[in-house]
Amino acid sequence: MSVETGTDSTTDPTAVNDETATAASASNVGSAPSSVTMTKALNQALRDSLAADDTVLIFGEDVGRLGGVFRVTEGLRAEFGSNRVWDSPLAESGIIGTAIGMAMNGMRPVVEMQFDAYAYPAFEQIVSHVAKMRNRTKGKVSLPITIRIPYAGDIGGVEHHSDSSEAYWTSTPGLTVVTPSNPADAYSLLRESIASDDPVVFMEPKPRYWMKETLSLPVTTAAMDRAQVLREGTDVTLLAYGPTVRTALDSAEAGAEHGLSVEVIDLRTLSPFDDETVSASVRKTSRAAVIHEAAQFGGYGAEVAARLTERNFTHLSAPILRIAGFDVPYPSPKMEEYYLPTVERVLDALESWDWEL
């Protein structure tokens, strides 16, 4: 492909100016521990994946020159060139549909849906093809595509910028659905997702993008299909993922002040579900609640509550609760604090149990 020589309008949108290319690659590899945001961890995971495998490609809306609206792809186009990282036309079905064709031709595309609700135009391509191609072809055609979707609210976003769409993806066989809650997992899970031969919907919790952690990258955390106990407790298990892990940990802290010993599990991967880890915890504590931002009815929590009840009924002292967003459309910025599950809502829910049972 041609290399752009001018500085003005370019006729080849996949061309890059050589002069802007730098060799800043892998600057953090093996680095001493430093404060790393989730955005930075994701950026480094993408950089290291691009460096490790020539078939990894990144494209989507504004992921090139701008580095993405959340800067997750910042600097990658300059570093790897516009044949590896480029801006696509603004059409989500087009992004996913062409990623499918590229994956059929040996590539490993990592594409970005700019905001959760903006992934909906790509619903058909994801559900009818990304999820089904491997099965349809008896394993002859795998689609190692990673679909990055920033999701969740609490960022003061206008309408359609705060959805939690996980249940659409988790109810589709063929998709693996991953969502990190912290920078270390963001790095490790994204690397593993890109390396996976199964297509992965990688949901990035927007309100945690700026969360910092002291880390040295690269880092390898628990395997992709394992949930993780973040805080041990004996009275109740709080199950959370993505943005609500923080809520769960804060609730555990607050619960401790009331004499409650709360175990917190970060699910990390929503599909498949780590029955082993979660059931073991629920059998220990005999009480569980699942927290998510998405509306309650038909939400991911319904599946969690149902399967845990099916598997652990005789070990339970109380019904498994869902602490979720209300069954209303995601509200406007000034209203979202009344919608989102808070520590207070979690504690109120825990208090609703008859602890004498």
């Binding site: 492909m1 080849d12 949108p13 996949t14 490609l57 044949n83 696509s88 036309p89 059409a91 079905s93 087009g94 996913i96 549909g97 062409t98 990623a99 499918i100 064709g101 590229m102 994956a103 059929m104 031709n105 040996g106 590539m107 135009p121 058909e124 391509q125 009818s128 093809h129 089904k132 191609m133 491997r134 099965n135 349809r136 072809t137 008896k138 394993g139 002859k140 055609v141 795998s142 066989p173 063929g174 693996t176 996976s196 031969d197 199964d198 299909d225 498949p272 579900f273 029955d275 082993e276």
Partner: protein, 368 residues
């Protein structure tokens, strides 16, 4: 002072469909935009394949009526578009077909049982895409046009000379994915040929209720790519146009949209009733544009084909039909356990548990 933008570089397709061999079997005087008629040898091969394809479609439709297949969308009447476009492909090129393109699969050498596995209900796709360089036939409308574009983009990035060809219909041209594919392909300048078979109907909805455009090929101009309208029942025109478009793509000059004007002689599938939306006169009218009759007339005139040649091809078609009957009268082996075998590359515990449920059900039913 006016806004300074380019005012050249846009061109619309000619209105008259490109055609070499008219419905009367004689050469037309239609302008052909620099395309050249294929050799008699090539045309004889195309004739032979069209005869085979027509017999195939008739046989499969018949077997479907007998209940041997769950459903079947026939491309009878569209043989020139199916065969002409597919034959133009190089072995390394990839085809991205729809459900109505079994004739193209047959032309590319996919064995009959593998083509028909999906319609018989054995499995959603019966062949290995990598073996034949054909994507699974898409049932959702126009989705495969994006796959063809992406595949060609990867070919371009890898520096291979593979081009892609995708079929779509006049109905699918209304889908957003068709628009997105044409746009992405042109922006990225991928070696992709879009063969839009305008067969006048989307199930029952006629073209006039699908679009108000003068012709669908005009859309190409809006995407900044060449568009051509060809007589889709003239296999010479289809083959020449697609060959040139593939060459264009391979030379790095990007995609082409080719509208092939044709007519779906059969119903959408065996399960609809075409008398509710079109009359017999219209079908009769289109019979005079038959793709096979005209080519036979033409090749008899040039001397490339005689009675013996026609008879030999007809005999080969009967042999094919017999093999289709044999294939469809033999039950395919299916294994219920395969439900779980291909969903994920990485095994899932919960799925293994569900497989145990099925195993127990199978054992209880005395299933081997």
């Amino acid at each position: 002072m006016t806004i300074d933008v380019p005012t050249t570089g846009r061109s619309l397709p000619q209105l008259q469909p490109i055609s070499f061999i008219g419905a009367d079997g004689r050469l037309t005087d239609t302008p052909t935009e620099g395309l050249r008629i294929p050799s008699d040898r090539t045309l004889t091969g195309l004739y032979r394949q069209m005869v085979l394809v027509r017999r195939f479609e008739a046989q499969v439709t018949h077997l479907t009526r007998q209940g041997r297949l769950a459903t079947y969308p026939s491309a009878a009447g569209q043989e020139a578009a199916e065969v002409g476009a597919t034959t133009a492909l190089a072995p390394g090129d990839w085809l991205f077909p729809t459900y109505r393109d079994s004739a193209a699969l047959l032309t590319r050498g996919v064995p009959v049982p593998e083509i028909l596995a999906a319609f018989r209900g054995d499995w959603h796709c019966g062949f290995d895409p990598h073996e034949y360089h054909i994507s699974p036939a898409a049932t959702p409308l126009a989705t495969q046009t994006l796959h063809a574009t992406g595949f060609a983009m990867a070919a371009k990035l890898k520096g291979t000379d593979a081009a892609t060809l995708t079929f779509l219909g006049d109905g699918a041209s209304s889908e957003g994915d068709a628009h997105e594919a044409l746009n992405f392909a042109s922006v990225w300048q991928t070696p992709t040929v879009f063969v839009l078979q305008n067969n006048q109907y989307a199930i029952s909805t006629p073209l006039r209720e699908q679009t108000n455009a003068t012709m669908l090929a005009d859309r190409a101009a809006g995407y900044g790519m060449p568009g051509l309208r060809v007589d889709g029942n003239d296999v010479a025109a289809v083959f020449a146009a697609v060959t040139a478009a593939l060459e264009r793509g391979r030379n790095g000059d990007g995609p082409t949209l080719i509208e092939a004007l044709t007519y779906r002689m059969e119903s959408h599938t065996n399960s609809d009733d075409p008398t509710k939306y079109r009359d017999a006169e219209e079908v009769e009218h289109w019979k005079q544009f038959d793709p096979i009759d005209r080519l036979e007339k033409y090749l008899r005139q040039t001397g490339a084909l005689d009675d013996a040649g026609v008879d030999e091809i007809a005999e080969a078609a009967e042999t094919l039909a017999a093999s289709v009957r044999d294939a469809m009268n033999t039950e395919a082996e299916i294994d219920p356990r395969e439900l779980f075998a291909h969903v994920y590359a990485r095994p899932r515990t919960a799925l293994a548990e569900q497989q145990q449920v099925l195993e127990a059900e199978l054992a209880a039913a005395g299933h081997a």
